[in-house]
């Protein structure tokens, strides 16, 4: 086949792949078509890789094939992780994507230097800087989520200054390289400094801010891939990178809105350090506690129940017990819904996946905006392992560090029940006035065994 004909075949493959990628994301918008979306993405990927293998410049195939097979073998266990481990897996895959982009960028530079046009050098620097900081940043995030690294934020005096200086040095070097693309010896610094910056960037960020950080790193990984598309003049890559970049960006905006914080606040704020004892000076207040038997009685008498799960539920591995509770109550003719805050879990949408895994139908899962108007007509709100996202101080108390954060209005339900290990406050160390309401019952204990006890009371009661 003539080289020109081959070139056309490759371009058509890329064109179809691009269309399939866009359709893939479009079909992902609803659960009924979502799996078709995955299929479209897979077909697009096979077409794109197949087309690329026809590229006239390729003279050696053995390494490509070996790498394709090896990568696929590594990918299989990464695709089979537990659902609770999906956040750290996702962070790890951001690191892999960014590694690919950074390595290709580095190879491109050494192949082209010193003959690199200014604009190309600029996008090459952008590609490599964003790629490198995403590699280490994502590895750090993954380590924190896997709890290999300490989850709590680590801060020190002048931290932001150090971080910004690092970034500034990398940018100055990049500008120098753009003007003098022949200085090959400087290029490793453009890789190395952002690698350090990536580590330093994540060090002060706590576990609870991970949903925003993962989304932001997702966005960086996408943008670096788009930059690579500019370097290689590949429209397929530019489009895929732009799609990934905008997806990560939208998710990080949603996440930071859900926490009432700005990007800069997440990246430079080190939540958990900022606020000091806001609840100090409050007198001892009494809480009402109840047993599993009493809780079961109240649930059995209700017409409508909204369950609010938080990350604590996943930590206690209580989702399957919660499913049993859901089944039991539904069988009794009680309307059971789940109210899910956007930051419940460790990445966007994580809680939905955990509940879906426990076989809870997705049409019973409601996001914050759709469940809040229903809560005033709800008989019982049952909170399992969630704290700050139910704190009414976010609406009423201007002095509270979480004031302004959108919350689930569980305090408007007729009865509130909270399953909690003890009265210890949540990650932000903020006292929750909800627990002291007259209509609130505290159910002290481990989420899994307590829900199990309630289910036993409900089924053993023989009504």
């Amino acid at each position: 086949m003539s080289p020109i004909a081959t070139q056309y075949i490759i371009e058509v493959c890329y064109l179809v792949a691009t269309a399939l990628f866009i359709l893939s994301l479009k079909w992902l918008s609803a659960p009924s078509t979502a799996r078709r979306g995955v299929l479209a993405g897979e077909v697009g990927m096979v077409l794109a890789i197949g087309g690329t293998l026809l590229h006239h410049g390729i003279i050696e195939y053995q390494w490509i094939l070996l790498a394709l097979v090896l990568g696929s073998i590594i990918g299989i266990p990464l695709g089979l992780v537990q659902m609770t481990a999906v956040p750290q897996r996702t962070a790890l895959s951001h690191a892999c994507g960014a590694l690919c982009v950074t390595l290709v960028g580095t190879a491109e530079f050494y192949l082209r230097s010193p003959d690199v046009p200014k604009f190309m050098m600029a996008v090459l620097c952008l590609e490599v800087i964003l790629g490198s900081l995403t590699i280490t940043g994502s590895l750090m995030a993954s380590g924190k989520l896997q709890e290999i690294l300490p989850q709590r934020p680590i801060t020190y005096r002048g931290q932001n200054l150090v971080n910004l200086s690092l970034l500034a040095i990398a940018i100055v070097l990049a500008v120098f390289l753009i003007l003098n693309p022949g200085h090959k010896a400087l290029f490793p610094l453009i890789v190395f400094i952002p690698l350090v910056f990536g580590v330093m960037m994540i060090v002060p960020i706590g576990g609870a801010d991970m949903p925003t950080v993962i989304s932001l790193l997702n966005s960086y990984a996408g943008l670096s891939a788009a930059a690579m598309g500019f370097v290689l003049d590949s429209k397929l890559l530019i489009i895929a990178g732009a799609l990934d970049g905008s997806s990560g960006f939208i998710l990080s905006v949603i996440m930071s809105k859900a926490m009432n914080r700005s990007f800069t606040n997440v990246l430079f704020g080190a939540f958990g350090q900022v606020q000091t004892s806001a609840a100090a000076g409050k007198e001892e207040r009494t809480v009402r506690s109840a047993t599993a038997e009493e809780a079961a009685g109240i649930l059995a008498a209700a017409n409508s129940v909204v369950i609010v799960p938080g990350y604590g539920m996943a930590v206690a591995q209580a989702q399957h017990k919660v499913r049993e509770l859901f089944d039991t109550l539904t069988k009794k003719g009680i309307d059971v819904k789940f109210g899910i805050h956007p930051v419940a879990g460790r990445m966007p949408g994580h809680m939905n996946v955990l509940l879906a895994e426990a076989d809870i139908p997705y049409d019973r899962l409601f996001d914050m905006d759709s469940i809040n108007p229903e809560l005033p007509q709800t008989d019982v709100a049952l909170i399992i392992g969630a704290n700050d996202v139910t704190n009414p101080a976010a609406r009423t108390d201007q002095s509270s560090p979480i004031f302004g954060m959108p919350i689930l209005d569980v305090d408007k339900a007729r009865t509130v029940m909270v399953i909690k290990r003890s009265m210890n406050p949540g990650f932000a160390g903020i006292d929750n006035p909800l627990y002291y309401f007259d209509k609130t019952l505290m159910l002290f204990g481990d989420a899994k065994s307590f829900v199990g006890d309630i289910v036993r009371e409900l089924t053993g009661g023989g009504h």
Partner: protein, 98 residues
């Protein structure tokens, strides 16, 4: 290969708009699968790595390209696999039994 900057910028801008419009419509229910799917799609960077590795211009570029293929390919396979596993779990309420 010509370096067609302006064309590429147009493509980037339009793709960005499409991304915003399409992804805005994704239900919050599916945000985790969304992220794992875009990750898999983003691993299309593998096509750049394949060309670098296959052109075999220098040992250095071949080695980097080969490692890059491994990294990206693990995302392709792992990303699609886990997205499909998650989506299979999302089931609607079964029709009421008699």
């Amino acid at each position: 290969m010509t370096f067609d900057l302006i064309n590429d910028l147009y493509v980037f801008m339009l793709a960005g708009f499409i991304g915003f419009e399409v992804i805005r419509r994704v239900s919050p229910l599916l945000h985790t699968p969304l992220m794992s799917l875009t990750n898999a799609l983003d691993a299309i960077a593998v096509v750049g790595a394949i060309v670098i590795a296959g052109e075999a211009k220098t040992t250095f570029s071949t080695v980097l390209g080969t490692i890059a293929i491994v990294a990206a390919m693990s995302n392709v396979v792992g990303g699609f696999l886990i997205t499909d596993r998650m989506l299979r779990m999302f089931k609607a309420t079964k029709t009421k039994k008699s």
